[in-house]
């Protein structure tokens, strides 16, 4: 019964490769509109991608050819379907393929870009300021002082602690799987439900002012407006993120996200990070979001986070065993 569903998934991936959707707009596309005249972006979307944020070393083109990308995606699908080798660290894990969690099992856009960063044009972060370097050195120092990653829950990445994931951001970037979003639009409000951590991004589009600077939030404070047929979301009031900041950003980062629907099955998502404390100039990235399927099932991560308990307990057991092996000293 479940295996019958595999055929559907494999076919879906094959179709994704055949119908190449690029990030450039179809000039004759008529975006569907809501009663208030604004474009309708509602539905389920998926931003899974193979494209890295920064351009890989040794590549200085802005675009791959279609043939290169299709070949790469085919090879990735084959690699992902193969099981890991027993006895390796990678093998101490459930198999993503069996749960439908491979990238090749997700709705995928064929993105010809060599990096998500489109500006600076070299596809890399702009240089960091001296203050940015000091800030991030201090963060690295704080993480070092906190001890090993298994010493305490608070030393683990925010994702393992079920506090924040890449998919939430903002900006919203795909992780390995479950890169699903549901967009609903009411007259004064756009809501983006991020599957991972069931994060609700509630974005007013009625001109509500920003929060005072004294109020800080992990996901910042977002306000939206329409620029023609593009939804523009400005987010400020971030926190300092407990030693783990987005790509080294400061709490004063200003983020601008832009959504444009370029075809029935593609939303172009473009974001600009403006953080003069950390980077010498703003930087911009772009990712196509592909039409996905629902439903989004409750991702009650913190409530089900047995893994964190287990890994801490495991580390304490290992230490206990190591202590018991040692001859009595001091």
């Amino acid at each position: 019964m479940l295996r019958r569903l595999v055929a559907a998934t494999a076919l879906g991936s094959a179709i994704a490769l055949l119908f190449v959707s690029t990030t450039t707009a179809q000039t004759n596309y008529k975006v569907p509109r809501l009663a208030d005249g604004h474009p309708d972006f509602q539905g389920f979307w998926n931003n899974t991608t193979y494209t890295p944020l920064e351009r890989p070393k040794g590549i200085d083109r802005e675009f791959f050819t279609r043939e290169e990308v299709v070949e790469q995606m085919k090879r990735a699908a084959v690699d992902e379907a193969e099981q890991t080798t027993p006895g390796t660290v990678a093998d101490v894990h459930y198999d993503f393929t069996q749960f439908g969690l491979d990238r090749s099992q997700a709705p995928l856009s064929v993105n010809l870009r060599t990096s998500l960063i489109v500006d600076p044009p070299d596809g890399h972060f702009p240089p960091m300021t001296d203050e940015g370097k000091r800030l991030n050195a201090a963060r690295a120092e704080a993480r070092k002082r906190a001890g090993a990653i298994t010493d305490a829950a608070q030393n683990q990445p925010l994702s393992v602690r079920c506090i924040l994931m890449d998919r939430d951001g903002p900006p919203m970037l795909a992780g390995a799987y479950n890169n699903n979003y549901q967009i609903v639009q009411a007259p004064d409000t756009v809501m983006i439900l991020v599957e991972m951590l069931h994060s609700p991004r509630i974005i007013p589009t009625n001109g509500r002012p920003a929060l005072p600077a004294s109020i800080r939030q992990i996901e910042g404070n977002s306000r939206g407006r329409w620029d023609g047929d593009t939804l523009v979301i400005e987010t400020t009031n971030f926190t300092d993120m407990f030693m783990f900041a987005f790509q080294g950003a400061s709490a004063d980062m200003k983020l601008t996200e832009r959504f444009t629907r370029v075809s029935d099955d593609t939303l172009t998502y473009r974001f600009t990070v403006n953080d003069p404390k950390v980077w010498t100039r703003p930087w911009t990235a772009e990712v196509p979001w592909k039409k996905g399927v629902g439903p989004i099932f409750e991702h009650a991560c913190h409530e089900g986070n047995y893994s964190l308990t287990n890994l801490l307990r495991g580390a304490r057991e290992d230490e206990k065993r190591a202590r018991e092996k040692k001859p009595a000293s001091n």
Binding site: L193, L197, I296, H302, E303
Partner: protein
């Protein structure tokens, strides 16, 4: 000719009869309120709301009582409450014993303390704002506490695929009332801080009606044949947050409970 007068009188009397048969909402004006409409012609319930009730401590009528944390003194003490239930909760005998145990051990057992999702209906009367975002196919109810999200499926309705904390909700309109039918609960959430609980057989039917521009009338029927001998009801008004720029602020409480949950597993003599 008196004929048409007589008929007009009959029509008028019938109209009055119909108006009085339409049950007024539990709170608000006697004449049913007609909420402004959305583009698809439905009562517009969008907005930021909050319950003002002691039910989050204990949904049954209860006296004031001391809190459980001595250092918090009156801040953690329990205020008396009139309750929102329609009578004593009809627990089965073994379930009543469990409720009492829950109450006695609430400081370790109450899921709210660990920043776990509140479940339904508890999320609707916690002392934090929630927001209704209404569209034709989906009505989203988002609570600031633990960022709890409820997706109310208005068209694409299916059975709960698996159990969840907030349940799986299918909704429909009955005139001015949004009726939400929720199943697919796990057995992990509570109804309040007093240890009132349920099994995974919980079935909740809520009726939400705009009582006037700034109040919702909220009623819910709770059914759980594993825990209770019969269904029971709760009812309370819910208030619109009318201040300018009313909005949900982020209340991600997970970082605030990590020491509580994982502190005993911290490496000894680490910071």
């Amino acid at each position: 000719m008196k004929h048409w007068v007589g008929r007009a009188c009959i029509v008028a009397v019938s109209a009055i009869a119909v108006l009085s048969l339409a049950a007024p909402p539990a709170y608000g004006q006697a004449r049913p309120y007609r909420a402004p409409r959305t583009a698809d012609g439905k009562p517009n319930l969008s907005g930021v709301y909050q319950a003002i009730s002691e039910a989050y401590w204990d949904i049954e009528p209860h006296s004031a009582a001391p809190g459980q944390v001595r250092e918090l003194g009156a801040s953690n003490a329990v205020p008396g409450g009139l309750g929102i239930t329609d009578g004593p909760l009809p627990y089965k005998p073994e379930a009543l014993a469990k409720k009492r145990e829950n109450f006695a051990k609430r400081i370790t057992l109450d899921p709210e303390i660990k920043c776990y999702l509140p479940g339904t209906p508890r999320g609707m009367y916690m002392p934090y704002p929630f927001q209704i975002i209404q569209t034709p196919a989906y009505i989203m109810i988002v609570s600031s506490y633990a960022r709890a999200v409820r997706t109310i499926y208005m068209t694409d309705q299916k059975e709960a695929p698996a159990d969840s904390w907030m349940g799986w909700s299918n909704g429909h309109w009955e005139g001015e009332t949004l009726v939400i039918d929720t199943t697919g609960f796990n057995d992990q959430s509570w109804f309040d801080r007093a240890g009132n609980f349920h099994s995974d057989q919980l079935h909740v039917v809520e009726r939400i009606t705009a009582a006037d521009a700034d109040h919702l009338s909220y009623e819910a029927t709770i059914e759980d044949p594993q825990t209770f001998t019969r269904p029971w009801k709760i009812a309370l008004p819910i208030y619109r947050r009318v201040e300018k720029n009313a909005q949900l602020l982020e209340f991600n409480c997970v970082p605030f409970v990590e020491d509580l949950i994982y502190g005993s597993l911290r490496k000894p003599s680490s910071n």
